[in-house]
Amino acid sequence: MNLSTISLLEMSLYGGVMILGVALLRRAFARRMPKALVLGLWAVALFRLLVPLALPSPFKKHMLYFASPIEDGAVTTAAKEGETIITALTAILPYLWGAGVLIALLCHVVPYLRQRKVFSMALPFALNEEERSAINHFFKMQGIRRPVGIYMSDRITTPLTYGILRPRIILPRTQVLTAGEFHHVLAHECHHIRRFDVLRKFVVAATLCIHWFNPLVYVMARCFNRDLECLCDASVVRKLPRKERAAYAHTLLSLEEKKWGHPVLQAAFSGCSTEERIRHVMTDSRPGKAAVAVGIFAVLAMGVCFATGEPAPVYYAAKPAAIQSYQVVQQIGGYNTLSPVVSASREAVVVEGNGYTLQAIGSVMPTEALYGVTAVDFTSSSSTSTDVQVVFSDAQIYEGVAMGVAANSISFSAVVNTEEAGVQPVLLEQIEVNR
């Protein structure tokens, strides 16, 4: 089973379609689909967006192709024109994309660094020994092994968590929390820390930078953040009796404040659509079996449809074939002899496979039987991988085929090996086939 690479555009397109699908499902099933499942669906979409691989699938599928089929022998100007337009476009696109990535990165990184600077100026939250150890114990019970710092700052408006290796919770000094609210906030942030949510947000942010041109990825980012918050709420509220759920909803309300800065890279308590969260908390009922079934089916279906696929054949204009043959006098083992005539045909032909393939066919036809020819070695190299085969040989002709997978150029050489003592292999021909 071999994996094939797919291009960024393809990743973005399929990722976009998956995002649409997940968003629709999410809306259709709303509170009946557990948020953990929704986040699983987002994870599949993220995989498609970030991992440039496609597995071969039993179902034949058509992926995008970038040129139209060319008839055999119709090496016309039309073909050449199409080629130049395409090559011109494909030449600029990577640079455009790169520029976009840089700008997107700046837009993410600069505000983030500024925020980190402010966060670092937070002061330790006043806790006595007993409270501190109770909190540490609570975190430990939840399975968090990293040390968690609790701080307070007058520069933020909602409680938040940042940091991956050494997570820190910062509470706003300007809002005095009651004991109950304090516990709710801690429990909520605790789940963020336990799930490494800050790291997940980084991944989504990276995806945003890479796929800056795809508007659907922004939709996903927004939904993803909301779903993260709802999942933490659900985790907190799951084991609480109904009365305490109302208290938690009250906490959400009373902490509803203006969002702090850039919402993407830290996990804020009440940044995202508080109303939605309160609704989820108060009506969190048993997840519908239908919803779960549909969700699991969606994960599998998306995985099969969009993570796998064999691309359709792609055709390119073939360069005019040129046959070349020459004779060189070689000295082999002390015997002068006419070198074999080497003829090589150059063809860029596509065979079904992974995107496109260059194929070079070379044949070596000795005009005179060389003394003790043991083998003709064909070697090849291309910009990606190559596969060389000797397809035919007898004393008269040695033919080799080299294929470069997804290659832009392929070089192909034939080396004659002889048994004669002390005779070095002689390189007879080296050809380059360019797409």
């Binding site: 600077k117 670092s120 100026m121 937070a122 002061l123 330790p124 710092g149 307070m152 700052s153 007058d154 520069r155 000094r173």
Partner: protein, 120 residues
């Protein structure tokens, strides 16, 4: 002169109010031990204080001197609180502060003298 200081800046001022003039490096070391700030953070906050006019930088050696006294900041904050929460009424602020706290005879005496001074 109204200087508005954030919590982080007040924390640095606290060091100067307690210890007097200090070189910045010493402040950084102390705050690292007390609240875990790294050197860059402390220096950033000190620079902010200098910009706001709360700290004077003296050479050689980047020695910091407080330009505003703790009492002055207390007064400004108390006035702000009074305006914000007590409609500018000192009496209400005072009543809230004293509330149901039991005052010792010495404290009552001192307060009485304070009020008398105000009356003059």
């Amino acid at each position: 002169m109204e200087i508005k200081l954030f919590d982080s800046e007040l924390r640095v001022m606290e060091v100067l109010w307690q210890e007097g003039d200090q070189p910045a490096g010493k402040i950084a070391k102390r705050l690292k031990a007390e609240i875990g700030w790294n050197r860059n953070t402390t220096y950033t906050v000190i620079k902010k204080c200098i910009e706001k006019g709360a700290i004077l930088r003296m050479e050689p050696g980047f020695v910091c001197r407080a330009q505003i006294a703790r009492e002055e900041v207390q007064r400004q904050e108390a006035n702000a609180l009074m305006d914000k929460m007590f409609g500018g009424s000192l009496e209400q602020l005072f009543a809230a502060m004293v509330g149901d706290k039991k005052l010792s005879p010495e404290e009552i005496e001192r307060l009485r003298r304070l009020v008398e001074d105000l009356d003059k």
